[in-house]
């Protein structure tokens, strides 16, 4: 059969139509008995991601990573890829996964779609922090970078990463991070941060 035309990469097609590790019912969620749960996003920006993890407590690694999503094809595909990437990974390492790592694994995304992938890694960090909270390892909860946008849990470091990756304007940073899309009152602060990080990294 002739290959049908498709908007995204082949890898996105595969993960969108056949997402890995996704929850399809409440029963599956109950049976899973998650060690940590994280959720980010809201309907205003069009994407919501919820993530559940099982942790190997001795090795401090992720045994399994499951999720549900209200989102577009790239949100589903990026999270599907992420859920495979983190299997067996140390919690510390999983915490450091960036949107760029995920997008590279997927063979790229259209520029405007880049922001969707931000949800998976963020939901995962929320789930890991939730695990630390539940197991009373509060010292491990990483809040090393101040949160700028509470709705999406976007930190100063996320803004800095976006700037380092070439975003120069508020719109370009929003394309990468969605910061301030629904939470518009943070925009002045974001603008300040963009200016600060551009100066810091000598970007004109």
């Amino acid at each position: 059969m002739k290959k049908q035309k498709w908007f995204y990469s082949e890898k996105v097609r595969e993960h969108f139509f056949h997402p890995k590790n996704i929850f399809r019912s409440k029963k599956e969620i109950e049976r899973f008995k998650a060690d940590g749960v994280g959720m980010v996003g809201n309907p205003a920006c069009g994407d919501i991601m919820k993530m559940w993890i099982k942790v190997d407590k001795k090795k401090q690694t992720i045994k399994e990573c499951k999720y549900q999503t209200f989102g577009c094809a790239s949100a589903i595909a990026t999270t599907s890829v992420l859920s495979e990437m983190v299997k067996g990974m140390k919690l510390d390492d999983a915490f450091r996964i960036t949107p760029k790592d995920i997008v590279e694994k997927l063979g790229g995304l259209p520029k405007l779609k880049y922001h969707c992938s931000v949800l998976g890694d963020r939901a995962l960090r929320e789930a890991i922090n939730d695990y630390y909270r539940k197991t009373n390892q509060l010292e491990k909860i990483v809040t090393d970078s101040p949160i700028v946008d509470e709705t999406l849990k976007i930190t100063e470091r996320d803004i800095e990463n976006a700037v380092i990756e070439g975003a120069k304007t508020l719109e370009e940073v929003q394309e990468k991070t969605k910061v301030g899309i629904s939470n518009k009152k943070v925009i002045p602060r974001v603008k300040e941060l963009i200016k600060k990080f551009k100066e810091k990294h000598g970007i004109k």
Partner: protein, 387 residues
């Protein structure tokens, strides 16, 4: 697999009769209408004949028709051209439009605001129809232009154009309507409507892309946006797109001749689609008035799912539709039209538009009714917010 193309509000295929009318004007009758020789005169004749036919179809005079590159240019020309001309005359600087206009009007209005004009964006009712009284209320002594679309491109709602025209006329204000979506199904006689300026384009009426008109009533001064060889009475320079002009005239002729029959046929199919979806899928919302609506439009929000995912699953099943979700737009914002109805962001992101057309059959509707419930169900199963 037969493709069920239910996105005719995005664009329509060129009708075979239109294509046949156009073909001689590419390599055979290729002249520049501005030339004095035989080849030029041949092309000029085709352009003027088309202008005459278009004028007749909309109840206008030939010299009230300006050929442009499409609906977007026509909207730009109407708004910017008239606003600038009136400003030069020392008239007011206030424009009225609605919140559900096409971006070709909305973004042009934003540009005019940057140029010092003041714009009022009037709300619509919950059913997606503007109340003429609200337009009247927005009028000030500085108002120079009102622009309200005839039929909405997303939800198909038909606006009370002749009522608004009466208000505008009584106050001596120019009235423009974008009738791109209406021309296939509604009466577009400018005298019946009472409009001063009207936008039409080819690609929504089974004509070619890249062609449209601005109807501008005699006496209205328009500052050009494009300067050059002085074609179209100097209002729109650039060598005329002869094949497209011929195709546009033919397309409009067919559309207006067949509109009543086609409206009847599509209303039945469209209603079958909406009723079927209502019966098979829970937790939905039909967007826009069900009666004052184009016969080919169905726009439905499916709560708990995101529109782009639905569109891509439909595509994989051989159905072409579109969504108001931010994820499929060039911006990061969801549909301004669905939001203007007072619905939630979730409703905007989960809205799907089906627009039927000349080639739509019962089989296409049956296919959607068979495939869609499964798609919605499977996406709701993986959604953290579906009920």
């Amino acid at each position: 697999m037969r493709i069920s193309y239910l996105d005719n509000a995005a664009t329509t295929p060129v009708d075979k009769r239109v294509l046949d009318a156009m073909l001689p004007y590419f390599s055979e009758k290729y002249g520049n209408p501005g030339s004095m020789h035989k080849k030029g005169l041949e092309a000029k004749e085709a352009v003027e004949e088309s202008r005459k036919n278009v004028a007749k179809l909309i109840g206008a005079e030939p010299d009230e028709i300006i050929f442009v590159s499409g609906g977007t240019e026509s909207d730009n020309l109407a708004l910017i051209g008239v606003a600038n001309a009136l400003r030069e005359e020392g008239k007011g600087n206030h424009i009225i439009t609605t919140k559900i206009e096409h971006h070709a009007v909305l973004d042009t209005c934003k540009y005019l605001e940057e140029q010092g004009f003041r714009v009022t964006y009037v709300d619509v009712e919950k059913n997606g129809i503007v109340n003429p009284k609200e337009i009247e209320k927005a009028i000030t002594k500085n108002t120079i232009l009102i622009s309200v679309m005839y039929a909405n491109n997303e939800i198909g709602t038909i606006q009370p154009i002749s009522e608004i025209a009466k208000i505008a006329k009584s106050k001596g204000i120019l009235f423009h309507t974008d009738a791109c979506q209406a021309a296939e199904y509604l009466d577009i006689n400018v005298k019946n409507l009472g409009v001063d300026l009207m936008t039409l384009n080819g690609s929504k009426i089974y004509g070619p892309k890249g062609i449209g008109i601005l109807y501008a009533k005699k006496g209205i001064v328009i500052k050009p946006l494009i300067y050059g060889g002085g074609q179209e009475k100097g209002i729109r320079s650039g060598t005329e797109n002869v094949p497209a002009i011929v195709g546009f005239a033919k397309a409009l002729e067919i559309a207006q001749k067949e509109r009543e029959k086609e409206s009847k046929r599509l209303t039945r199919l469209r209603n079958k689609l909406i009723e079927g979806i209502k019966n098979k899928i829970p937790n939905i919302h039909i967007n826009g008035d069900l009666n004052k609506r184009l016969p080919n439009n169905a726009n439905i929000s499916f709560f708990g799912v995101e529109g782009e995912s639905v569109v891509l699953h439909l595509d994989a099943n051989g159905v072409c539709a579109s969504t108001g979700s931010a994820c499929s737009s060039h911006s990061l914002e969801p549909s301004h039209v669905i939001k203007a109805l007072g619905l939630s962001d979730e409703a905007s992101h989960g809205s799907i538009r089906f627009t039927l057309g000349r080639h739509t059959t019962e089989e296409d509707i049956n296919k959607v009714l068979k495939k869609l419930p499964k798609i919605i169900e499977s996406l709701r199963r993986i959604s953290p917010i579906a009920k």
